[in-house]
């Protein structure tokens, strides 16, 4: 697991945002059994949704991939917070589950999630390679096109 995650992100022009606050009465992450469970992250930047609508209708595949990438950046911000800012405590990304708000004839949910999965490998190297599920849902909060949640393994 690389410990220079912020530098790796900077090298591809990205910077971790502040960890977004939850949308309601829950916490952004919870740690148990050596795992950290990250709450569903939306494509939020500076407190605003960057995209709304369904993929395959108002939202293109390319825009959805960019939104998934932003969800992934928010996941990484939460993971860093969960690890007290110390990347050496993060062992790996274990699991991503992706919810894609989909037009009825849109069947490329995995390609949407790749926007996040590629980021994880760019940021974390082999430790970013995770198990995954992708599903097409009828609606998400605020009409965003994608929400992603995650499980990471913590050490030390």
């Amino acid at each position: 697991m690389p410990v220079d995650v912020d530098a790796r992100l900077a090298a591809i022009g990205l910077m971790l945002p502040g960890a977004p606050a939850p949308a309601a009465n829950y916490v952004p992450y919870a740690i148990a059994g050596g795992l950290v469970f990250i709450s569903g992250q939306a494509p939020v930047r500076d407190g605003q949704y960057v995209a709304t609508g369904r993929v395959g209708a108002e939202v293109t595949l390319e825009a959805a991939q960019a939104a998934a990438r932003l969800c992934g950046l928010n996941i990484l911000a939460q993971v860093k917070a969960a690890a007290g800012g110390d990347w050496s405590r993060v062992k790996r990304c274990v699991r991503i589950c992706g919810y894609v708000s989909s037009a009825p004839d849109f069947f490329e949910q995995p390609k949407v999630l790749d926007g996040c999965s590629d980021l994880m490998v760019q940021a974390l190297g082999d430790a970013g390679r995770h198990s995954r599920s992708a599903l097409g849902v009828i609606a998400l909060r605020g009409n965003v096109p994608v929400v992603l949640d995650a499980i990471f393994e913590l050490g030390g």
Copy 2:
């Protein structure tokens, strides 16, 4: 983690039901690695669904929140059973995932889940604060408006 969960519920006029039986060939919970995984709980009371239909269509937000609260009560009943009736063995609520049967233009899934999340904090105090994901689905068993599953941490 408070151990007088039943008393805390009684103080707000609630009583844990018997732990509902699964709807098919599975078990209501499974324990592994210090975690208990609770099967999806529907808004069932005395073996009957208390609400049917989609949120934003036949079911109002308020009715959906009440249904989510009942799902949460059923989750707590399962957790108590998993802990052998001993609340001191329950360390915390780690994770809630909520599936909201949604009209296509209903985007307030987090508010529905608050019906359960608020209950967890009322029943368990800070140990009830959890990570969470909310998604809008096209259909659920028996046309119920919401199903919730959960992960809790067990000790001892």
Copy 3:
């Protein structure tokens, strides 16, 4: 936990396939904290989807159950790979989550999942009894009728 899983499957006329490759940039399973998280498995045989369409529309309940059974067989193939081919390292099936691509008036998602749940008990005995959630989604990759993911407990 029985260690003659392949023989038990052969007795009911089934053979484990090769573990299917992921559909995109992720891994088929990830191990952490004594648990193995299996990526969403589709009804794939020899690299081809065996069914497409929504349950309750183009796909019957019976065909969906058969598809769920095939997803379950692919899950078992992944679990065997995760355990290095040694079934004695597999302690139990902890959790199945099932995503059923559903017509708007199809509400029998649990019956679809039974195709997989029954297989788990046939293959693993009591160690195959798991917690579970079932939801109806609007679309899945390649327009398949069902995708299932799973968590197993590993020992030794």
